[in-house]
Amino acid sequence: MAIEVLFAIFVGLSGGLAVGSGLVAFITVLGIIPRLVQLTKTYKAVQAYELAVVIGALVGTISGLHGLRLSLPDLFTVPVGLAAGIFVGMLAAALTEVLNVFPILAKRIGMEENLMSLVMAIVFGKIIGSLFHWVFYVTF
């Protein structure tokens, strides 16, 4: 029995280690934190941001696995949704950037001057696609 418990702890710990380091590596590679630091000029707060990522991951794990429930007013979901969206948006933008999508596309079709409007096409596509998904698509 004790061995089984110890083994379960070991498996849980190693699984968590792998997933956690993977998450941090992913965020680091995409450079979202440096980008936010650069935008807000808060170079000294990097460690606080690291802590925010770690605590966020922990809270997400605990609440997701244990069905935590608060009883806050509905409006509290608005800032949470907005923050989640901004983060996923930055993730998506960082991913297209890592994959060199825009430079190659703009070069191939010769639209280097219109680069920003092409970016806006993707931005609006994301917003409209997401709204369509939540408002109409999921009710089909």
Partner: protein
């Protein structure tokens, strides 16, 4: 008396077809001021119809041209040993139509991609869980969370590309500008390193140089 001048290539960027490239177009010079203006005006290469999209000009090509007019000058090349010129081609395609087409393509593609992404990662059930975590209520369609999420998505992309706050927050180049620059530089490096047998040289093959045989 022997004179020394120093030559440093800079990136000119683009040139048009049939343009003649002079030394002043591709390099900065430093040395005795009385001869510099005449060196600046030496023609190096004329862009012709055979050139495709890029022309690489080597330091040796420039040195040879300078030496054939001013044999007594010693030229020191500082920094890069070649410069890459991009030839601007006049496009026949109607760009506004193309732009609208590509814009529409990207728009639909992005919309579809985000929907696929949401389905792939079960974003709906995550949102439902998140909603019940905060409010304690179970909703199949937590729009109060999802609509801000959707707008945040666009905002996050704009923030990342530094478009909205470009002028206000900082003067640093955005990741996209850096990316465009690096892409161009990679092309230039590739051309400079691989295409050693260039047409811009007055001689044609790698092994032959006009002064080596005689």
């Amino acid at each position: 008396m022997e004179q020394h001048i120093y030559l440093q290539f800079f990136s000119k960027g683009s040139v048009v077809s049939n343009q003649t490239i002079y030394v002043k177009d591709i390099a900065r010079l430093e040395g005795k001021s009385d001869i510099l203006p005449s060196i600046m005006e030496l023609p190096i290469y004329k862009i012709n119809a055979k050139d495709k999209s890029h022309v690489v000009i080597d330091a040796l090509t420039v040195l040879q041209q300078i030496h054939s007019f001013f044999p007594q000058i010693t030229v020191h090349v500082i920094g890069r040993e070649q410069t890459v010129l991009e030839i601007k081609i006049q496009r026949k395609i109607v760009t506004p139509v193309m732009l609208v087409l590509v814009w529409f393509l990207l728009f639909i593609g992005a919309a579809l991609a985000i929907m696929n992404f949401h389905e792939d990662v079960s974003m709906l059930s995550v949102h439902q869980k998140l909603y019940s975590l905060i409010t304690g209520k179970n909703l199949t369609q937590p729009l109060l969370l999802q609509i801000p999420y959707s707008f945040g998505l666009g905002l996050g992309m704009i923030l990342f590309f530094n478009h909205l706050f470009k002028k206000r927050i900082n003067e640093e180049p955005s990741p996209l500008e850096i990316e465009m620059f690096q892409y161009r530089q990679e092309i230039e490096n590739y051309l400079a390193e691989t295409n050693t047998d260039r047409r811009s040289k007055p001689w044609q093959s790698k092994s032959y140089s006009p002064f080596s045989s005689d």
